[in-house]
């Protein structure tokens, strides 16, 4: 039986105001404030007047990040996305380079990737309905 996919989706980036509340929410899940642990990134499309792009894990079927991981620290997650076993991770950063969306972020404290778990905590802090868990 196929697992139900649960993934974070970008509904409409045109609604994004660039407040970064989702980024702070994501980082806050780990207890700290700031942005170090954020697995979502909002950035302008070359100047805020042109709007924003929401960079987040797309839960690919055949993710590039998993393919390049030399220690199998990244594994396919049932239902979409990948999981990180940080004990196996050697911090090589290949996954960051491999993701074509730039959606694998980097933990500056631990020197390891930050992987979106599609938990949806950020959704509650997006005031304008840009993202949703589907």
């Amino acid at each position: 039986m196929a697992l139900t996919r649960r993934r974070l989706e970008v509904i409409d980036p045109d609604l994004c105001v660039g407040c970064m509340s989702c980024m702070f929410a994501c980082s806050r899940r780990f207890g700290d404030s700031g942005l170090n642990y954020s697995a979502i990134r909002i950035r302008s499309v070359g100047g805020v007047e042109r709007g924003f792009t929401v960079v987040v894990c797309r839960a690919c079927d055949a993710p590039s990040c998993v393919k390049v991981c030399p220690t199998s620290a990244l594994k396919l997650r049932g239902g979409g996305g990948v999981t990180l076993d940080s004990r196996l991770c050697i911090g090589c950063g290949y996954c960051v380079q491999a993701c074509p969306f730039g959606a694998v972020f980097w933990d500056e404290v631990e020197g390891k990737p930050i992987i979106c778990t599609h938990c949806g905590y950020c959704v509650d802090f997006c005031p304008y309905g840009v993202i949703k868990v589907m």
């Binding site: 806050r28 700290d32 404030s33 700031g34 005031p127």
Partner: protein, 587 residues
């Protein structure tokens, strides 16, 4: 008590003369004053000779954030404190955008800039590193917006950085030159841009990413949620994110408080045409937010222009608007064309001028020209109410300074009026041009006694509106109320909260939000802190030469009826007497 986040207490001291920097830990300041205004006052006291010439290398710029920055929503301001070249006194300017967040993410709680470089430079601060980079090629570039585009390509941390820069106005030391951030936010008031220009500092780029530890995770999440909901759903913030501050145009005009044509009137027949509603319908292109603020009050308009002589060749440009620029470059100049207001706003941004000071200066020029105090020999063009095309040119001339008149006008409206006449209708308060509220005595007394001469110091305009249709207080009680409000606002600006969320972050909420960060302060202790910062700031201001006995209102304010009728000179005199005795008792 120790701060949960030790990095906040790192203060970066930059010496532009020798291109050196050092970092000092200042837990003493941050744990006592929480950041922002409170910390900046103390550092300025330590670093600046109060008698220094504001445009000399001896002037010092302090920029500070607070314990709430990048921790709670809408703590999104960066406070800059310096000696103002416009007033010769304490200068304090606050900017939104991404600057506050970026400073904390770059690993510092405050930045101190002193000295002056011999050639143009820009500073790049990220990951705790400081680089001095040559800016000779950037100096003299026509538009400050181009500088932003160039640095965007050259500097790291896209999306997580702030790019602050000055325009030609700052380079040429116009004393109301601004610093522009992220294209749409500003350190507008009191000439920080000229101070940077005098230091040959063209730009400052801050960026980084890091974790900020908190003492009590669960308590933090709860307090965060409450603050977030408050910012988003409180009726107090609704207007900012719907029409934005431009919403003020119509109501102010209706009560007769909208300064028009150099305040010869407080009602503008073209108000409807330049209202927030009209801007939204005709040209609003996008609403955006400062970093870590869900309100999204920044309103960006687009203008689409056909090139003359070219068929089907259009350009679309974007300009942010707010109430203050609409007042200063709209009603104050009799400009009722939306396109004109937007192009004037764009021009002050391109040149790097403060919108309010520029508008008030143009209004004074127009009236002085009409009255024959000025002729074309001085102005070189013919200023006329509503003629925004000529105003675009005058703004250029203020920066170019081709003759003695423009050299003086670049020093501020007050200076120009002292020489050419018309001080009675030069709308300045302690040397600073007036904000857009002629709502009654409290607004004007508030501008005079506010420690940074800003309408946001003590919100006199808000008191005026509160007392509409009710018994207006005695001058003594009014001053007490203004000062009490200003004392409290020192807490808000030390936490660098945007003043738009003052209704959300009430004393009880702040006290609760501090606790998970390991800081115990009761509501009363917070209020006491506000009073102490106010006192300290007033003392510093007096050391810089501020003299409460020299305060005066421009006559025009007393001539044009406000929503409370004509403002009585005697009322103002009694209020200022009260303020003087208060100021004396506090210092």
């Amino acid at each position: 008590m120790p701060l949960a986040d030790e990095q906040l207490a790192r203060v970066l001291y930059v010496d532009l003369t020798n291109r050196r920097y050092r970092v000092r830990r200042r837990e003493d300041l941050f744990s006592k004053y929480l950041g922002g205004t409170g910390v900046a006052v103390q550092i300025l006291k330590e670093e600046l000779d109060p008698k220094a010439d504001p445009l000399s290398p001896e002037n010092v710029v302090v920029m500070a954030i607070g314990v709430f920055t990048a921790v709670y929503p809408a703590a999104s301001k960066l406070v800059a404190m310096f000696k103002s070249p416009l007033t010769g006194n304490l200068g304090e300017s606050h900017a939104g955008g991404r600057a506050a967040l970026s400073l904390r993410m770059s690993g510092f709680g405050a930045l101190v800039i002193r000295g002056a470089s011999d050639t143009p430079i820009y500073l790049s601060v990220h990951d705790g590193r400081v680089e001095f980079k040559d800016a000779s090629a950037l100096w003299g570039v026509r538009s400050s917006l181009t500088i932003g585009k160039v640095l965007r390509e050259r500097e790291p941390w896209p999306g997580l950085r702030s790019i602050m820069r000055i325009g030609r106005a700052g380079e040429r030391l116009v004393r109301y030159a601004s610093v522009i951030l992220e294209t749409y936010r500003h350190f507008g008031r009191l000439g920080l841009g000229a101070v940077w220009g005098s230091k040959r500092l063209k730009a400052l780029v801050l960026g980084g990413k890091r974790a900020i530890p908190v003492a009590d995770v669960r308590g933090y999440r709860e307090a965060y949620k409450q603050a977030f909901e408050g910012c988003l759903r409180s009726p107090a913030t609704r207007k900012y994110h719907e029409l934005g501050t431009a919403e003020n145009v119509i109501p102010l005009n209706e009560i007769g408080g909208l300064p028009t044509r150099n305040l010869r009137s407080a009602r503008f027949e073209g108000a409807e045409l330049i209202s927030g509603e009209r801007f939204a319908q005709e040209s609003l292109a996008r609403r955006i937010a400062c970093a870590h603020c869900p309100i999204a009050c920044i309103h960006i308009a687009s203008i689409r222009e056909l090139y003359p002589g070219e068929r089907y060749f259009y350009v679309t440009r974007h300009i942010s608007y707010d109430y203050e620029p609409i007042y200063a470059l709209g009603s104050m100049l009799g400009v009722s064309e939306l396109e004109g207001v937007l192009k004037l706003i764009e021009q002050v941004d391109i040149l790097g001028l403060d919108a309010i000071s520029s508008g008030v200066a143009l209004a004074w020029v127009t009236e002085a020209f009409e009255r024959g105090e000025l002729s074309e020999r001085e102005t070189l063009v013919k200023p006329e109410w509503g003629d925004w095309r000529t105003y675009l040119r005058i703004l250029e001339l203020i920066v170019e300074q081709p003759n003695d008149f423009y050299k003086l006008l670049a020093q501020g409206t007050e200076k120009a009026a002292e020489r050419y006449g018309g001080s009675d209708y030069a709308l300045t308060f302690g040397g600073n041009e007036m904000p857009g509220y002629h709502t009654g005595p409290a607004s004007h007394i508030g501008y005079l006694i506010g420690l940074r001469h800003s309408h946001l110091d003590n919100a006199g305009y808000s008191l005026d509106q509160k007392y509409l249709g009710r018994a207006y207080p005695d001058p003594e009680a009014l001053v007490d109320e203004l000062v009490e409000e200003e004392c409290w606002r020192q807490v808000l600006t030390s936490l660098v909260l945007c003043l738009f969320v003052r209704g959300v972050y009430k004393p009880e909420m702040i006290s609760r939000a501090l606790r998970p960060l390991g800081i115990e302060m009761s509501e009363e202790e917070l209020r006491d802190l506000g009073r102490e910062i106010y006192r300290e700031k007033l003392r510093l201001k007096m050391e810089m030469g501020f003299d409460p006995s020299e305060l005066r209102l421009p006559r025009r304010v007393l001539e044009t009826p406000s929503p409370h009728g004509r403002i009585e000179e005697d009322y103002v005199r009694r209020a200022l007497d009260r303020y003087r005795s208060l100021a004396n008792s506090l210092t």
